[in-house]
Symmetry: C2
Amino acid sequence: MLGAKPPRDRNLTRQKLSLDKQARAAALGQKPAILWFTGLSGAGKSTIANLVAEKLHVAGKHTYMLDGDNVRHGLNRDLGFTDADRVENIRRIAEVAKLFVDAGLIVIVSAISPFHSDRDMARQLVEPGEFFEIHVAASLATCEARDPKGLYARARQGKIANFTGISSSYEAPENPELRIDTAVVDAETAADQVLALLQAHR
Amino acid sequence: MLGAKPPRDRNLTRQKLSLDKQARAAALGQKPAILWFTGLSGAGKSTIANLVAEKLHVAGKHTYMLDGDNVRHGLNRDLGFTDADRVENIRRIAEVAKLFVDAGLIVIVSAISPFHSDRDMARQLVEPGEFFEIHVAASLATCEARDPKGLYARARQGKIANFTGISSSYEAPENPELRIDTAVVDAETAADQVLALLQAHR
């Protein structure tokens, strides 16, 4: 009976998966992580996050960006902007980020994510050392003066409800892994700071 | 003024992302795809899907598995098993699978996914040629005889509502890219058929 196959039913029901997060990350030649960019609308999160993605790509790393555009138009298209929907929006982004970390990737999240509790929830989903909270800091006045999408103007006119900084609060991180003051540092320098942060913890 | 930096605000708001799906997939050395395994509970979906993941890993490909375990306990933990919740469960899995394809990965979905309309929705989310519907076919009698998790027995006792095959319908695919009859083909052979399918379309 040596070499005989096990009964088909056992074969189909007791298969154990040996391919895990470590194996996937090793095959990609990297340690997975979440780079979580938080800050007001217009602070510069997406600009810096995109530069970080490009620089990591050039360095041979494999990344994926989760932001409002690719999530709000798909997975989270059923959600609005009430506080409850914002919490659910961030919960889903965090859970998806965890799946990408499990896949071995470096996930770059760009989301206003105004509440402490939601960002802490995201941090708790992954292993210690895998979550990097990056506060893209700019004053409300600076963001409102930039207003790249005209959102602040519309919020001031009362045309957008629950707008962070105007009619909804932003809770700034107290101990982020990195704080970037975009009134002082340009996007290139900021992206390099993020790469240095990641490098220092690998 | 040659070499002068553009004004900071422009720098922060007009950055264009050059890193796209094609660039990510090329860096991973593969074409992204969704391998969507559908079939009754106990048909052998997860067993074959896990073998496919292992074989692709050995072949140097980068994959990620989305199944009930890693999604129902996280992203979809707010969902139950009513028809509406099942539809939302599959919608979210499909949207997340799309994000993984956008990241350049080969996504392996293992889900009963009993309804035509949901599987077609998943197919429509990605580009033509990226979606492979794989019907893991086994008769209800066969699956019920295996009953690896004791779920059919509990469903027959009325302890599980809306159980596919017993109290909820399963709509078998009419034109899947591959149909595997697990009463005839063992898991190893089935996994090799999936790899051959993928190879033939690359």
